[in-house]
């Protein structure tokens, strides 16, 4: 099931009403049932997959926690024994025992990760890997949300292994964390420590909370159905026969895709978080005005935030602090001095972005996309002393508004350029297409891209509205202000719903329910 369907609206309406009708202590159980029903629409086979992940992770985490407790007890007992015998444990002996104990716990964590990342790898990447060795294989049917729920579960497992979060002893409660339906389609990727605070709590009816959530859901649908699905039409035409649309058409693709992906992805996230909020549950934000970023590093702190932080905490940091990496760093800095110190930083960063690219999809274009992001970040890092010198010469430039706007536009164009590897799907073709922006290509004919002039105007107004909203939301989300004035809130909601009904694209021939990230 995806969001922009009558089925989902009906499902959520029913769930919502039941949720506030039943005794509060059973609300989380209803959510679990609802999530399983939701997921069942994706296919009973998918339920098997998510079930295996939930069960194995719950079991492994409990085991790790139990081990940690018993190992600590055993060490304490040994310390007491040795002290009594007049031969106390030395610091080295204590460290060695702790390390050995950690190794046992690590084996459980590793086993669980191999199983679940293995399932993810096989389901998502078999086709791609086989194609590298020349075997053609269509690949397995997609398991909805497998990238999201696997990462969310593995994050929990690692948090338990690190002792950051207590293991969830109740399997049903844990299953809800894994299958929580609003997140199954496209995230956000939640942390157990955060989500658990509100997921299992008792939720009473609260006008403001529910109003805020509802406004957010409606806004999400508006973005999706008015803007994203409308822009998808010319994008499809422009990218399906790329040879016919070169030169400035490619520039148009770059800009349209930026707008379409933003509206689609943030729209879906708005629906996700809005639904969760309507159920009284707090979910982490996934976007923070990303197109106002001044550099690539900042962009990745504002776009798909939960994915960025997941990769940072569970891939980037563990990789860079691994004993092997630290030893490599020592060897490189001994051999190559100042430059040598940077080698492991570059290696880790590029590995991170390689993995990020792979996560996005089983195709070369995603890998190239990921590496390009990594390269841009590293290059900006290297150019910093140069920038600092330049700004030293022109000190009034950096704080000026004009320069700020320059940085924002530059970052927007750069990120949008790299992002276009998503949309042409073939690496050499993408480079060729981009090349034609400079060398020239076919003319742009707005009238022949599947949208009438009225459609283009509506899309334009929609984008302007998004832009205005991001300014309105800076200090406080507009919906928070709206719910304090119920009449305005109702008026706004009604107006938006009317706009969605009148201007929404319910495409014939275009699957308006296929969110871009649905394949994940």
């Amino acid at each position: 099931m995806s969001f922009a369907t009558a089925g989902f609206v009906a499902f959520f309406a029913a769930l919502f009403l039941l949720y506030y009708a039943i005794p509060k202590k059973h609300q989380w159980k209803l959510l679990l049932a609802g999530s399983l029903v939701f997921y069942w629409f994706a296919g009973w086979r998918c339920l098997v997959f998510i079930g295996v992940t939930a069960l194995s992770t719950w079991f492994a985490a409990r085991k790790i926690e139990t081990l940690a407790a018993s190992q600590t007890e055993a060490l304490k007992a040994e310390e007491a024994r040795r002290k009594e015998a007049g031969d106390p444990l030395t610091k080295e002996e204590r460290k060695a025992r702790k390390a050995a104990a950690k190794k046992v716990r690590w084996r459980w964590a590793l086993g669980c990760m191999l199983l679940n990342f293995g399932i993810l790898a096989v389901m998502k990447y078999t086709g791609f890997l086989l194609s590298i060795v020349g075997v053609s294989f269509r690949g397995f049917a997609a398991v909805m949300g497998i990238s999201f729920y696997t990462f969310q579960s593995m994050g929990y497992l690692i948090d338990v292994y690190w002792g950051k979060v207590p293991a969830e002893r109740n399997f049903a409660r844990f299953a809800l964390f894994v299958t929580f339906f609003p997140q199954l389609i496209q995230g956000p990727i939640s942390r157990y420590g955060d989500l658990a605070k509100s997921l299992y709590a008792e939720h009473g009816w609260n006008n403001r909370t529910i109003g805020r959530g509802a406004l957010r859901v409606i806004w999400g649908f508006a973005k999706k159905l008015i803007i994203a699905d409308r822009l998808a039409i010319p994008l499809k035409i422009l990218t399906q026969k790329p040879d016919l649309y070169t030169g400035w058409n490619v520039a148009l693709v770059i800009v349209l895709y930026a707008a379409e992906l933003y509206a689609d992805f943030t729209g879906g996230i708005d629906i996700t978080i809005g639904c969760a909020n309507m159920l009284g549950i707090d979910v982490a934000e996934n976007f923070n005005r990303p197109f106002f970023s001044k550099n690539t590093a900042e962009y990745w702190r504002r776009w798909h935030i939960t994915m960025g932080t997941w990769f940072r905490d569970y891939v980037f940091y563990p990789l860079s602090t691994a004993k092997g990496m630290l030893r490599l760093h020592k060897a490189c800095s001994a051999k190559f001095g100042g430059f040598g110190k940077k080698i492991t930083v570059y290696l880790t960063t590029l590995l991170l972005w390689f993995v990020t690219g792979v996560w996005h999809g089983a195709a070369w274009n995603f890998i190239v996309w990921g590496l390009l992001n990594g390269i841009v970040i590293l290059v900006s890092q290297e150019l910093e002393p140069l920038y600092a010198r330049f700004h030293g010469r022109f000190p009034r430039l950096k704080p000026s508004k004009a320069y700020g706007i320059f940085e924002i536009v530059r970052t927007f164009l750069l990120m949008s350029l790299i992002r276009v590897f998503d949309v042409y799907r073939d690496v050499p073709l993408t480079f060729r297409q981009i090349g034609t922006i400079v060398t020239g290509g076919t003319a742009v004919r707005f009238g022949e891209l599947g949208l009438s002039s009225a459609d283009w105007i509506i899309a334009g107004i929609g984008i302007a509205a998004l832009y205005a909203a991001s300014f309105l939301n800076v200090r406080e989300p507009a919906r928070d202000r709206l719910v304090r004035r119920p009449f305005l809130a109702w008026a706004g909601a009604t107006a938006l719903i009317v706009l969605i009904i009148v201007f929404g694209i319910y495409g014939i021939g275009y699957d308006s329910t296929a969110f871009i990230y649905n394949q994940f």
């Binding site: 610091k91 460290k95 702790k98 690190w162 002792g163 950051k164 590093a297 702190r301 940072r312 905490d313 980037f316 940091y317 563990p318 860079s320 602090t321 004993k323 990496m325 630290l326 760093h329 020592k330 800095s333 110190k341 492991t344 930083v345 880790t348 960063t349 970040i377 890092q381």
Partner: protein, 75 residues
């Protein structure tokens, strides 16, 4: 402590590490700075910082960092 300040100043020369208390919260140190820092700490102090220690509480100030290094050395 002086060695630590030296490492920090090489990573981010414009920052006053004796005064700053929100190195992570105010995004003064980036994640790349952090892993560079951890690598240097390993080289200079022989202390390997495990990933679960990469939290704001340990990295928000030079003092917090120093306390973490000493604690990890002991454990």
């Amino acid at each position: 402590m002086e060695d630590l300040l030296e490492i920090l100043n090489e990573i981010a020369p414009d920052v006053d590490f004796s005064a700053e208390k929100a190195l992570i919260d105010d995004k003064i140190l980036t994640s790349i700075d952090i892993i560079t820092l951890v690598a240097e700490i390993s080289d200079v102090f022989g202390v390997d910082v495990p990933p679960e220690e990469l939290v704001p509480e340990n990295f928000n100030s030079a003092d917090a960092l120093w306390a973490m290094i000493q604690r990890l050395d002991e454990e």
